[in-house]
């Protein structure tokens, strides 16, 4: 009797905390929407048109922030994987795998928007340039990470192997970032951040780019939260199914 009451109290408090988190998540989604609308205004109405490339240069305001957030996602995978290998706690695996999925989504978009920008400027959709090739390798590494998890017969084994890949795979991130400085090929050099060319980006363009990064970071935070909640619910479902099977087993024994 006492155990049922305790379970009910736990369930009620867990339901209350989930509804509070659900509201906070909705607020984050609304904030992401509002910031994105403001971002679109800045990109299309406020930022100056680039003199040589024209309007197509506005792709930069989504292409660059998405690339940065893909790097952030893979950094989260790296940290989460190290923590999982060290502590063997499922929450680190949930964080790493959620970030890996988002990293793949963002890298896919970088690989789609890049060629769309490249075609009218370079005259080609794709070339085996250092930056493009290393980015494609990065995408393949993390697609393998997700496939490794999906096809593992054992969940803990899948988590362990993917954590190892999550640590090793991160080596490609600095290679992608510095590829344009190390090998001077087709892709333009860094215009912002460590190792960039000084004064290569107009001040208004830079402001718009930073605002876009902020808007995409809010969207990224929402998506990561949503993905982690999903993984937690899947975990709850597994434990409930397990306890249901235990109850059924106990009844058969009786």
């Amino acid at each position: 009797m006492g155990s049922v009451q305790t379970d009910q109290v736990t369930m009620t408090s867990s339901t209350a905390s989930r509804s509070y988190l659900g509201s906070a998540k909705s607020v984050l989604l609304l904030a992401a929407g509002a910031f994105m609308l403001a971002n679109m205004y800045l990109i299309f109405m406020w930022a100056p048109t680039e003199a040589v490339m024209g309007h197509v240069q506005r792709i930069m305001y989504i292409h660059v922030p998405m690339a940065w957030l893909a790097f952030l996602a893979f950094f989260i995978v790296f940290v989460g994987s190290i923590m999982y290998l060290w502590k063997r706690e499922s929450r680190w695996d949930m964080l790493a795998s959620s970030a890996a999925e988002l990293g793949v989504v963002f890298t896919s978009l970088v690989l789609i928007t890049g060629p769309i920008w490249g075609k009218p400027i370079w005259g080609i959709w794709w070339t085996w340039d250092a930056r493009l090739t290393t980015t494609l390798v990065l995408w393949l590494i993390y697609v393998s990470y997700l496939m490794l998890r999906a096809y593992s017969s054992n969940r803990s084994q899948g988590a362990l192997y993917s954590a190892v890949l999550g640590v090793i795979g991160f080596v490609d991130v600095p290679i992608v970032y510095f590829a344009v400085n190390w090998w001077r090929t087709q892709h333009q050099r860094l215009v912002i951040g460590t190792g960039s060319l000084e004064g290569s980006l107009n001040a208004d363009m830079r402001t718009t780019l930073y605002f876009s990064l902020l808007a995409f970071t809010i969207l990224f935070s929402f998506l990561l939260w949503q993905k982690i909640s999903m993984k937690r619910t899947e975990e709850d479902l597994r434990s409930i199914r397990y306890s249901k099977e235990l109850t059924r087993g106990a009844r058969i024994e009786r």
């Binding site: 049922v4 024209g54 309007h55 009218p120 400027i121 949503q226 619910t233």
Partner: protein, 64 residues
């Protein structure tokens, strides 16, 4: 280095395509993850209720 630049007016369809693809993928992703989350939550609620009913019917004192 190849630099074949089209006139700004000609490259607007590329700009439109990049933004359209990006937003379509984001909206699709948010839609599918939200739907999956909702389905999972419903399944958790259903299983908890089933478990609770099973416990009460086994132990009538628990309902008091």
């Amino acid at each position: 280095m190849i630099a074949l630049i089209t006139t700004p007016a000609n490259n607007i369809p590329y700009l439109f395509a990049a933004y359209a693809v990006t937003w379509a993928i984001f909206f699709g992703y948010v839609f599918f993850t939200s739907r999956r989350q909702h389905e999972l939550e419903q399944e958790v609620r259903l299983l908890r209720d089933t478990l609770e009913r099973g416990r009460i019917s086994e132990d009538p004192d628990a309902s008091n």
